[in-house]
């Protein structure tokens, strides 16, 4: 089901972006962490909190893995945003993108001129096995967790066994994704895991859910990210020199029960969301300069290459083997370290991707060694919630 993209919406730009240090952040509360992303985003945009008319907060674990049940207003009060329109958005691991989409629609519709999308997650306030429990419950609790204890690595591991059986993908191919993303995280000061790893280390790391091993899995991370969205009028009013335009946005959901999918070698929600986003942006995948894709597990990055059209179905392993997703390759992917090594603070992830891509499109990547060459000034963010339960694809253009 693909809707005709409505062309009468107003143009929307990202005019400011901020991101906290990712990692184990037991030094801050959810609001304090959000502030670390909010302040640089506002300063980057050259506005004040009072200019923000609408706020969407992406966060998933409120009341479960951190103490605040209704965190949107905790965050908005702390950031001096009382009086603005406010909502919390949840789309599992794509909650950040859901917040971004809501803020985008608020501006695109003409309802407001300046909106904030902010994502935050505090995942390190409880023990790891309880965290494994909560995330495992995030598919369909009654039919997949209650009796069978499926874990989040388990969901993706099942896609890995299916992909391996159909396309001959190997455990080494998966390890190559970890090696690449750890390499770029080592060059990214805000990343959670900054150690480089070898294929051998990745392959010999402890099994979590076979065939996925420790180095195939993203860490459990605290973090926050924020972007300020503005209408064309606001871009002029605030004299923004380098607006990054939202050229395309697509979203789709899959089934809650994995048993209701038609295959396990890709995520249909990605395919649908990508088609919408490409169509709205009037582009094809081959002109994207840089992408952040949802690599919560290494197999997820390989499936994303295929589902986003960076290669044909089944050729994802070839892309990583040939180094085509490195800086200087055909399509650099996750050169910020990805969820895999930069970290995956669920509600922040989608917005952290947009932060990274905004910096890349402005030629401001930190460190310089991971700045991609810009040809078409087009970037793509792909943020999945659950195992293709939700998907958002956003295309940015400078």
């Amino acid at each position: 089901m693909i809707f005709e993209v409505v062309k009468c919406v107003k143009k929307v730009a990202i005019i400011g972006a901020g991101c906290s240090k990712f990692g184990e952040r037991n030094d801050v509360t959810v609001a304090e962490l959000a502030f670390e992303a909010f302040k640089p985003a506002v300063e980057d945009a050259g506005i004040t909190p009072k200019d923000i008319e609408f706020v969407a907060v992406g966060t998933a674990g409120a009341g479960a893995w951190y103490e605040e049940n209704l965190p949107a207003v905790i965050v908005s009060e702390y950031c001096g945003l009382s009086g603005a329109g406010l909502m919390r958005c949840e789309a599992a691991c794509a909650s950040g993108s859901a917040a971004f989409a809501s803020a985008y629609w608020a501006v695109a519709s003409g309802q407001v001129d300046v909106a904030l999308a902010i994502g935050v997650e505090k995942m390190r306030q409880i023990d790891t096995l309880t965290m494994v429990e909560f995330i495992g419950r995030a598919g369909c609790y009654l039919w997949e967790f209650h009796n069978f204890g499926l874990t989040f690595p388990g969901y993706y591991a099942m896609h890995a066994t299916a992909h391996m059986a159909k396309y001959g993908t190997t455990e080494e191919d998966l390890a190559l994704v970890a090696v690449k993303n750890h390499k770029y995280a080592s060059m990214n000061p805000i990343a959670h895991l900054r150690n480089r790893v070898t294929v051998e280390e990745a392959l010999s790391s402890p099994v979590i859910a076979w065939p996925l091993k420790l180095y195939d899995c993203c860490p459990i991370t605290d973090g926050a990210a924020a972007v300020i969205l503005a209408s064309e009028e606001a871009v002029k009013k605030f004299k923004v020199e380098d607006p990054i335009w939202v050229a395309g946005l697509g979203s789709a959901c899959g089934t809650a029960n994995l048993s209701k999918r038609k295959d396990y070698v890709g995520l249909e929600s990605t395919v649908i969301a990508a088609q919408q986003a490409y169509k709205m942006a009037s582009i094809t995948p081959n002109i994207v300069d840089v992408a952040c894709v949802h690599d919560c597990f290494t197999i997820a990055e390989i499936m994303a290459y295929e589902d986003l059209g960076f290669c044909k179905k089944g050729e994802g392993p070839k892309l990583i083997r040939e180094g085509q997703t490195e800086v200087g390759g055909k399509i650099p992917v996750n050169v910020d370290g990805g969820l895999k090594a930069k970290g995956h603070p669920i509600g922040a992830t989608g917005i952290a991707m947009l932060y990274e891509l905004t910096k890349q499109l402005r030629g401001e990547a930190v460190e310089r060694s991971r700045q991609v060459p810009l040809k078409n000034y087009i970037a793509l963010a792909h943020n999945v919630g659950g195992t293709g339960h939700y998907c958002y694809v956003t295309i940015l253009k400078r």
């Binding site: 096995l129 009796n147 690595p153 299916a162």
Partner: protein, 147 residues
Amino acid sequence: MSLSPTMLPTLKAREVKVAPEIPISKTLPFWEGLKQGKVMTTKCRKCGKIYFPPVADCGECLSSDMEWLELSGEAEIEAFTHIVVRPLTFMNERPYTVAIGRLKEGIRVVAWLTDFKKSEVKVGVKAKLKAFVTPDGNIMYVFTRPD
């Protein structure tokens, strides 16, 4: 005040224990069937769609006129994983294999795969869905070796 694992000062939030009561009135024949060794599911009388998990309402045609049928249990495994790191409430279980099997009826089921040697578990292997009551009283269904 206590110290977090990173040795920073923290306050412990008040503890709550939560175990919601899940209604099964509308899927009761499924849970009752398991006790008799049957895996039951629903089929829409209006549009003919067979569902698993069983449902009271058809998302295709919005009819609520469903009939119950017993599944053959004959399955082919399409995906699987050996889970080593288990969630908190599964810590007392030994590491387990979860699989998705496609049944003869065209629907798919997620369940544990038991009785197979690890080396025998492959995509494409044939399995049989079996329902039973565990010694500690849990009603359960798993994939096992075909008869």
